[in-house]
């Protein structure tokens, strides 16, 4: 069902944990849907120098968090904002159709953390226009499978 890369990131997730006094914290998802992602960023000179996550969710949610955190580490805030869920899924060597929403959740967790950062520092990012970290949108895109 899952690619080897997904299984690797699920089994040995990178960047699990919390960052004390993080510069940015974002959380998306809700227990109703079965997944919650929380991300912590340490940001120095507009660069994400450290990142950690905690995830309640299925294998692909954990793998997506792990991969996404790897992908934004060392990036500028703008670069991180530009990361799309498709890139995350691609790096994971694909996700089953019913699990694509997990990669979207990762994308949104990043945005949510940066939103927090922007609010704290009164910054404006075009990419965050209209972004509502508390939106409980139906991000599920479950396929018809099974």
């Amino acid at each position: 069902m899952y690619s080897e890369i997904v299984m690797d990131h699920f089994t040995n997730p990178r960047n699990v944990g919390e960052i004390e006094n993080a510069d940015a914290v974002g959380q998306v998802g809700n227990p109703k849907c079965g997944d919650i992602m929380k991300m912590y960023f340490k940001i120095e000179d507009n660069v994400i120098v450290d990142v950690k996550f905690k995830t309640f969710g299925c294998g692909s949610a954990i793998a997506s968090s792990s991969m996404a955190t790897e992908m934004v580490k060392g990036k500028t805030v703008e670069e991180a904002l530009a990361l799309s869920n498709y890139e995350v899924a691609k790096e994971l060597d694909g996700l089953p159709p019913a699990k694509m929403h997990c990669s979207l959740l990762a994308e949104q967790a990043i945005k949510s953390a940066i939103f927090d950062y922007a609010q704290k520092h009164n910054l404006y990012y075009k990419e965050l226009e209209g972004f509502d970290p508390d939106a409980d949108e139906d991000h599920h895109d479950h396929g018809e499978e099974e």
Partner: protein, 391 residues
């Protein structure tokens, strides 16, 4: 070590069952409806299987009809009676926790102009007999309530339900797909009109089931056509499957006591140890009124699929009511019906045992499971506060 603990999903075919089937996949290939020698043998084989199953129910062979599985049996029973009695009434009573084969058949009938009452269940998964009585109307034509639940293993008060149905002259169907092979159902004692069963849940092959249909029960066919199954279920018979089903049923009821004792012991051991060893864990379903082979627990703060993946990596096969395992949007309707939060429903784990399981296997599970739960909890944002004593 490989430990299969998903016997409620399906079971392996017993070697004796396969041996019984093989001749009908090789040498005896004639159509049972044919007159010639190639067909006659097969007709006899089907009769034998029908006898074997009738015997387990203390029923007449003419009351057993073979189908393509438990889902077909459920659909036939429900839609068939609805169609046959629709001029008499259009009200059906069922429960909130039925298998989808029953639930979706009922929902379909709602779209077609029937009314369905879905009885709620208490936190253990039991319906209230009072509720049932109160929901009966003049136009109630069918009560369909499962014998044993496939997820949480809860056993309904079937005798009382059947008695109420009989008293009110309403046809009573029970989905016994999970109960069959674990519990003796005596149709001379229990006034049930229809019983759905499926071979692959009791060490028989997949794709064959049966409907017990009490003589005189009014029902329309689901599958029309040839004159097979006394004109009630058309289609060239799955002879090998039917033969395997008969053999599997016979074997299950030959060794019933031993089977019950073995599984009950293993189940209680597994269940008690899990509840003892892993904090923030809750049993789902009734502690006593439950299937002998069913353990269903919810672990707070974690999600089921990631548990299953982790267990799978150490060779343990289990299942969960998490939405993430089914591709649906919501976690198991059964768990939600118990009043569980979505979070707890997502954190459920079902371990269902079978004859092949040993104490050693259970010990292996008890060794592997706690660290898996702990590892996932350590990754969970919901667990953070707990560690700090906040809730």
């Amino acid at each position: 070590m490989k430990v299969y603990l998903d016997y409620s999903a399906t079971t392996p075919v017993k070697p004796e069952v396969l041996d019984a089937m093989l001749p009908y996949l090789k040498d005896y290939y004639g159509n049972p409806s044919s007159l010639h020698s190639f067909g006659r043998e097969n007709k006899k084989a089907i009769d034998t299987a029908r006898d074997q199953i009738a015997k387990t129910f203390n029923a007449k062979p003419e009351e057993i009809f073979f189908t393509g599985g438990g889902s077909e049996s459920d659909n036939w029973a429900i839609k068939g009676v609805a169609a046959a009695l629709k001029t008499r009434g259009r009200h059906i009573i069922t429960t909130n926790i039925e298998h989808h084969a029953v639930l979706h058949a009922c929902q379909y009938l709602e779209k077609e102009g029937f009314e369905v009452t879905y009885l709620p269940v208490d936190e253990d998964g039991l319906i209230s007999v009072e509720d049932l009585k109160n929901s009966i109307r003049k136009d109630t034509i069918l009560i369909t309530i499962m014998y044993a639940n496939n997820e949480i293993g809860t056993l309904q008060p079937i005798e009382e339900i059947a008695a109420i149905a009989k008293e009110n002259k309403i046809i009573f169907h029970t989905d016994a797909v999970q109960a069959y092979g674990h519990i003796k159902i005596d149709t001379q004692q229990l006034p049930v009109d229809m019983i759905s069963i499926s071979a692959h849940k009791l060490y028989g092959p997949k794709g064959v089931g049966a409907l017990y249909l009490r003589k005189g029960t009014k029902i329309h066919n689901l599958i029309h056509g040839g004159a097979q199954e006394r004109k009630k279920r058309a289609g060239t018979e799955n002879i090998a499957g039917i033969v395997g089903f008969g053999k599997a049923a016979e074997m299950a009821y030959e060794n019933l006591e031993e089977h019950v004792q073995h599984l009950t012991e293993l189940r209680d051991y597994l269940l008690d140890e899990i509840l003892d060893k892993i904090p923030y864990t809750k049993l789902n379903g009734h502690r006593e009124k439950r299937l002998i082979n069913n353990v269903n627990v919810s672990f707070e703060f974690i999600e089921g699929e990631s548990m299953l993946l982790s267990l799978d990596m150490v060779g343990i096969a289990a299942s969960s009511g998490s939405a993430c395992t089914s591709g649906s949007l919501d976690p198991s309707h059964v768990l939600l019906s118990l009043g569980l939060s979505h979070e707890m429903a997502h954190g459920s784990l079902r371990l269902t045992l079978g004859d092949q399981n040993t104490k050693e296997e259970i010990d292996y599970v008890l060794e592997q499971l706690p660290p898996i739960v702990q590892r996932l909890r350590d990754m969970s944002p919901l667990y953070e506060n707990i560690k700090e004593g906040v809730r």
